[in-house]
């Protein structure tokens, strides 16, 4: 009796432990799946890039850079770290857990104001991708029409263009408009639960066009919608930019590596500009869960945010930078004008020289987006 009891405890313990070992062993397996890209990564310097969201067309250039060997050509082995709901990319860099991060311009600047040693090394998106979408038949043609309406926004720092536009129209964001917290989808506007919804032109707006209108049974048509572009109102804020640790950039080795990283990344973006279909394939290969039609739309629109880049891809437009800061200061996201060292363009300029030497078009002056036909469900 005594023996069976003890042995049974041992059995339970042994089972638990073997489960644990099994789980750990299995976990290791799946970690290996993504590894082993590229030929021999022995001599390559490993570097990492923290995204602000999951793999999607928004980050096409970096994936293309890996697939096309642009990083490897420069002796770099790039690992892309996907973002998550609670991951703040620039904090990951400030903590030293990634070498570079993709983050919105103001978010990085705000972290810097809070003593994180971060420097913006490239401004990838030259324009804001944020729009405010309403049904055309509701007649909300400008922010002045929003008075008393339910206006959706995502919060979490995504709302400042909206607030600035409201104030610009002579309305008080706190009293004249009903601001509604919106999910990161377009269900509320589709169901007409709100009057206008926040959308990025490359993602949520496309979701609208990929949706079968419950009222008509057909895909929602662009003519049925009114799209307000914050770029046209002069309150747009710059978005996807690349960030690195300020102090590490002082090290000669890291500085040189950063120039190469920027050159490879922008070469990747040039590839996505000139090879949309291949770009779609690369993204889908890295995230088979995504819909092809939706990614084609996304990359096309993201290209349109990057190109043309009049001063060269990745170079910060000083006027838009100032506009971004002005809105940020108005709404107290930033306490004041960032210091001179918050951004630097010398690295990007060296990278551009590299690319120009290869005969690449770094401004995309002739770029024009194609017409991507929305597909049901984004498939």
């Amino acid at each position: 009796m005594r023996d069976t009891r003890t042995s049974r405890w041992r059995l339970v313990l042994a089972l638990l432990l073997s489960f644990a070992l099994f789980a750990v062993a299995c976990g290791d397996d799946s970690e290996d799946e993504g590894a082993g890209d590229g030929p021999s990564s022995d001599e390559l310097t490993p570097i990492s890039l923290q995204l602000q969201w999951f793999t999607q067309g928004q980050f096409c250039g970096y994936y293309a850079g890996i697939e096309q060997g642009y990083y490897a050509d420069r002796g770099l082995d790039l690992t892309i770290i996907e973002g998550g709901v609670d991951i703040v990319p620039q904090t990951v860099v400030a903590n030293g857990d990634a070498d570079y991060a993709v983050s919105f311009t103001v978010r990085g600047l705000a972290s810097r104001e809070n003593d994180a040693d971060l420097t913006q090394i490239a401004q990838v998106f030259q324009r804001s991708g944020t729009r405010q979408v309403s049904w055309a038949d509701s007649g909300l043609n400008s922010p002045a029409d929003w008075e008393g309406k339910k206006i959706g926004n995502w919060g979490f720092g995504n709302e400042f263009e909206l607030l600035a536009a409201i104030r610009q129209a002579g309305l008080d964001p706190e009293t004249d408009v009903e601001l509604v917290q919106q999910q990161f989808d377009m269900v509320a506007i589709t169901n007409r639960d709100i009057d206008a919804a926040m959308a990025t032109i490359y993602n949520e707006y496309a979701q609208m066009l990929e949706t079968v209108n419950p009222e008509t049974g057909e895909l929602i048509q662009p003519e049925e919608l009114h799209v307000l572009d914050y770029n046209d109102l002069g309150v747009a804020m710059l978005q996807d930019a690349l960030w690195a640790d300020t102090n590490r950039l002082e090290e000669e080795e890291f500085r040189a590596q950063t120039v190469d990283f920027l050159a490879a990344s922008m070469e990747g973006w040039i590839y996505c500009r000139d090879n949309l279909e291949e770009g779609v394939q690369i993204v889908l290969d890295n995230a088979p869960i995504l819909g092809e039609g939706h990614q084609r739309w996304m990359i096309n629109e993201v290209n349109n945010l990057i190109w043309p880049s009049p001063d060269g891809v990745g170079i910060l437009d000083p006027d838009l930078y100032q506009q971004t800061i002005d809105v940020a200061v108005e709404f107290e996201i930033l306490a004041g004008q960032p210091d001179e060292e918050a951004t630097r363009s010398d690295l990007m300029e060296e990278a551009l020289a590299q690319l120009e030497e290869k005969g690449l078009d770094v401004t995309g002056a002739d770029y024009a987006p194609i017409d991507v036909e929305p597909t049901p469900g984004g498939e």
Binding site: R2, T4, R5, T6, R8, W9, L11, V12, L15, L16, L17, F19, A20, F22, A23, V24, C26, G27, D28, S30, E31, F54, T55, E82, G83, G84, V85, D86, I87, V88, T91, N95, D97, F184, D185, M186, V187, T190, N191, Q207, M208, E210, T211, V212, P214, L284, P288, I289, L290, G291, E292, H294, P376, G377, G378, E379
Partner: protein, 294 residues
């Protein structure tokens, strides 16, 4: 043998009735809404939830969606994707669950040592559960990356989040269980000059089993929740949590798909909890011991 079948049926039937009832409620509400154009019958007024295909896809569509490919060009069906994701999440949860159970049990045994230790530790264990998981997740990732001892992988952070939810019920219930044997049993062991360890193994642990089994079941469910939240929070891909988020982004263009992932996650919790519950049969001092010996 017959009794077993009856016992089994008695356990399955109410659950099945509940599921059928829920499905009936969902479909009934949906059809009513479609019929009345989203108004309450007789009394009028808007229904709280709209019943169009985006907000409430038909159950038949959700079931059918399981067997269609995730994407037009994809070879995997939604069912396969959900199963793969669930399997991945289960393994992460299991690692977290085992860790949490061991830590919880260790804490319970430590607290058993003296009232002072119990008073010193127990409040902190309770406080630990009031910290929101979402605040904790990024911190765990950062700390994990600081650990030099092992090559820290992102999935370990998620396991650790599961551990964090798991240890709590085990520690609290474990302590109560270890304290549950009546004084005269402990005194009897004392009169045999039994060591603390002997008393623990022969009296206290078997006495704790009825307390531990429900605690472990709770912990199992919590570990799955922890993993799913953790996956979404830190952005680990491969699991069913990430699948829910990815499908939720298509909530409007492909509504049934998201429900598939959510149903999958729910079933995963159910399966894991029942699996842990069936461990009870293996435990010493269990009611099912006689059946086991058959």
């Amino acid at each position: 043998m017959n009794r077993r079948i009856i016992d089994g049926a008695l356990r399955v039937v109410p659950a099945a009735v509940a599921i059928v009832g829920l499905c009936g409620l969902y479909e009934g509400y949906r059809r009513m809404g479609i019929a009345t154009d989203d108004k309450w019958p007789v009394i009028g007024g808007d229904l709280p939830v709209k019943t169009n295909a985006i907000t409430m896809p038909a159950l038949s569509d959700i079931v059918a969606r399981f067997f269609e490919p995730q994407q037009r060009r994809s070879g995997t069906t939604v069912l396969e994707a959900v199963l793969q994701g669930s399997w991945y999440t289960l393994r992460i949860s299991l690692a977290g669950f085992v860790m949490g159970a061991l830590i919880g049990m260790a804490l319970a045994i430590v607290m058993l040592r003296s009232k002072l230790l119990e008073k010193g530790i127990l409040p902190w264990i309770i406080v630990s559960q009031t910290i929101p998981l979402l605040a904790l997740a990024p911190v765990i990732v950062t700390w994990g990356n600081r650990i030099e001892l092992v090559d820290w992988q992102p999935w370990m952070s998620v396991s650790l989040i599961a551990t964090y939810l798991t240890f709590f019920p085990v520690a609290v219930n474990g302590l109560r269980g270890l304290q549950s044997p009546p004084n005269h049993s402990i005194e009897l062991m004392d009169s045999y000059a039994a060591t603390r360890r002997q008393t623990l193994l022969k009296v206290r642990l078997p006495g704790a089993v009825p307390f531990l089994v429900p605690a472990l079941k709770l912990a199992a469910a919590a570990s799955i929740i922890g993993s799913i939240v953790g996956e979404i929070s830190i952005g680990l891909s491969g699991g069913v949590g990430r699948l829910i988020l990815a499908y939720a982004q298509q909530a409007q263009t492909d509504p049934p798909k998201m429900y598939c992932a959510i149903i999958g996650a729910g079933l995963l919790g159910l399966v894991f909890t029942s699996a842990v519950g069936s461990l009870e049969r293996l435990m010493p001092g269990s009611r099912h011991r006689s059946e086991m010996s058959l």
